[in-house]
Symmetry: C2
Subunit: 419 residues, 2 copies
């Protein structure tokens, strides 16, 4: 077993050569990676079923859903890698050229980040998405998953490394840390000499741990306490559709809604319809009903659980929705400013002015009018598969595609200039 | 005296309204700030002379030069603020518009960062530069300087706040932390609820402290162990000019050269000329001579101090230059990869291929051919005055102008789309 330090050293040593590899060679490697993934379908699914077996009883249904692989999902992962071939190479773009009066020619040119580390939990597609995006953007990647998903991730990583070797690139460009203990994560967070960028992907605990303990550069991703605000002027049918989609289409993901705020003027009409759709209709259809956690005012209109003090600050990642009544769009905006994690928020409204107010004042990565928060996703935004969704303001915000994985440098050509 | 927490709260409360202020209003405020600075010249210089008096004996000559204000420098600071008026407003640009097949219209729009904090040491212009750049880019700023420069900074900040009030903006947009103890810096570094971006400007110790202890987002700036590599094919006269300029024109700044690497083929010719220019000629002209710290091979060619083990890893910020001999451009590139802080490096060469190799392989924020490293500066790059020079790869690299102080958000307009 390679130590974490050896892995860091190998990734750092492998990275510089990749900046000289052509776009066509990188795409050839990506196609080989997609093929190798499919060629190893049986082996990968076998390792996944062992992980699933071990996880039984320890993980929630939603978390089990995150971990699960099947042929369809694996094939989706291969498609995701192939999609990256189609995307433009983000490296080597001259972003700006400045000619100075003294004759200096200054070019701002995109270059690879170098070594990108990702700490993640159980989603198997992270292994292939990160590997593909890092390769195309010219960086080596270091992957660190937890024990729940290790066998799956390892089988995927081995398939991808095999493909790199096939096309003549060093397999060291993709590194999976073999040690799933807390120590390896801590080592990675402190590896300033080796890691240019660390992206944690997972629950709030993981993110908090990275943000508080890392000395390497971190991009905070993914924690999504997403809000849908149903304005007084909303079309109630559209609002119910959006809230059901945002909450229940895949509750385990970060762009799922956790809080629904309802304008008092529409509450009497909207809330019974919401309860009908999210609870009664779903039960009748054999779907998991959504547990509604209601503030005091909502409790007076429909039955449900009384919301506790933390329910408006919790990423449930489950079939649970906090519901509150507000007196105005401004109150909704203020509530969001106080409780949101800055991921995605949506307003359902019939008034353009209110829509614009919401768009201007809500300071989150993605702000929607009359659409589900579930669209916050690299693929849905047309960026190709994403490495994560940034909820911070520095470097990148929202779904991070290839561009977010590069940096730039200034190249200055002179003929003896002194200042 | 306001506590640091009160200052954080005021800055956060003041920031949102600034995103609705027009470009013209912001420029009016900037012009008023420049005028107010000049109107308070006497008071500011008086406070500066108190700081200078106190600093005597405690600070090196180079550090005293950083702290010193005079009419010319103050007028330069006012000009710097006025220059920011001329720069385009970085907020509200639609960076991208994506129309999706499902009808969603996605816009990626630049928005202010929010609250930007800067911890700095003694340079008085930081107070006005940061205030001007933050205001124009729509963010509130929190300034934290040390005791050496506090009176100067406070006089400048008060003049700037007075100007904000004059044009009807809240003075809370510019905040100088009144407590110069270590505790206030630590409090700022941990203020995740209040600070969107922290930029330390100063020596290596300050930067290291921020990087290791901050939980807010930090941009690492300024530490510059900058290299000039004199290739075998260099024009020796050009090389001597560039090395003297890079080292001695202002040794206290981060873009000054600290290390000169010389190809063995030119060492016998170049080193005596270097010693003549940096030591003998400067002494004859009454200028401070440069102390040359030579590696073993250089010691055999010219007289000087034998370099100690740390001399190739030190930001001297003084009239000291480490000099070493290398066998090839590749060896110079490898030396730089190992010892550089990623700020600015230059090659002096007559061979275009060697120049391109150096430009491609040296992974620093600014990489030069045949020019002095002293040009790494927002003004010299045509960006207007800068908030700092980033030596990290995340978010911004090199001189950070207005653009580097913004972030973006995605605005998505739909008509009921669900995923």
């Amino acid at each position: 077993m390679m130590t974490t330090l050896e892995i860091l050293q190998r990734a750092k040593a492998a990275a510089p050569a990749l900046s000289a590899v052509s776009t066509e060679q990188k795409n050839e490697a990506l196609r080989a990676m997609a093929e190798s993934l499919l060629a190893h379908t049986d082996g990968i699914l076998e390792e996944n079923s062992k992980d699933m077996e071990d996880a039984k009883g320890r993980l929630s249904d939603a978390m089990m859903d995150r971990l699960l692989l099947n042929e369809e999902r694996l094939s989706g992962m291969a498609d995701g890698i192939r999609d990256v071939c189609e995307l433009p190479d983000p490296v080597g773009h001259v972003l700006e050229e400045i000619r100075r009066p003294n004759g200096l020619v200054i070019q701002k040119v995109t270059v690879p980040m170098g070594v990108i580390a990702v700490i993640y939990e159980s989603r198997p597609n992270v292994t292939s998405d990160v590997s593909a995006l890092c390769l195309k953007s010219g960086s080596a990647c270091i992957l660190r998953t937890g024990r729940d998903a290790f066998r799956t991730a390892n089988a995927i990583a081995e398939a991808l490394k095999e493909a790199l070797a096939l096309v003549g690139l060093t397999p060291d460009l993709i590194q999976l840390i073999q040690d799933t203990s807390r120590e390896s994560a801590n080592e990675l967070m402190q590896a300033r000499d080796y890691v240019d960028l660390l992206i944690p992907r997972g629950g709030a605990g993981l993110i908090k741990n990275c943000v508080e303990n890392a000395t390497v550069n971190v991009i905070q991703t993914g924690t999504g306490i997403c809000h849908v605000y149903v304005d007084g002027s909303a079309d109630p049918e559209m609002a119910v559709n959006i809230v059901e989609n945002a909450k229940a289409s895949r509750p385990s993901v970060c762009n799922a809604e956790e809080v629904c705020l309802v304008h008092r003027d529409i509450a009497e009409e909207f809330l019974p319809a919401l309860k009908q759709r999210l609870v009664d209709d779903r039960m009748a259809a054999g779907l998991t009903p959504v547990e509604l956690r209601l503030d005091e005012r909502a409790m007076k209109i429909i039955p449900g659980t009384a919301a506790g003090p933390d329910d408006f600050d919790t990423e449930f990642l489950d079939y649970i929705l906090a519901v509150g009544i507000v007196d105005s769009a401004e109150e909704a905006i203020a509530h969001i400013a106080e409780h949101s994690t800055g991921h995605s928020e949506s307003i359902v409204t019939g008034e353009p002015e209110t829509a614009e107010l919401f768009l201007r004042c809500v300071d989150s990565a993605a702000v929607y009018v009359n659409a589900s928060t579930r669209f916050t996703d690299g693929g849905e935004f047309g960026l190709g598969c994403e490495i994560g969704i940034s909820t911070q303001k520095m470097h990148a915000r929202g779904p991070m595609g290839l561009e977010a994985l590069t940096t730039y440098k200034y190249i200055i050509r002179g003929d003896g200039q002194c200042r």
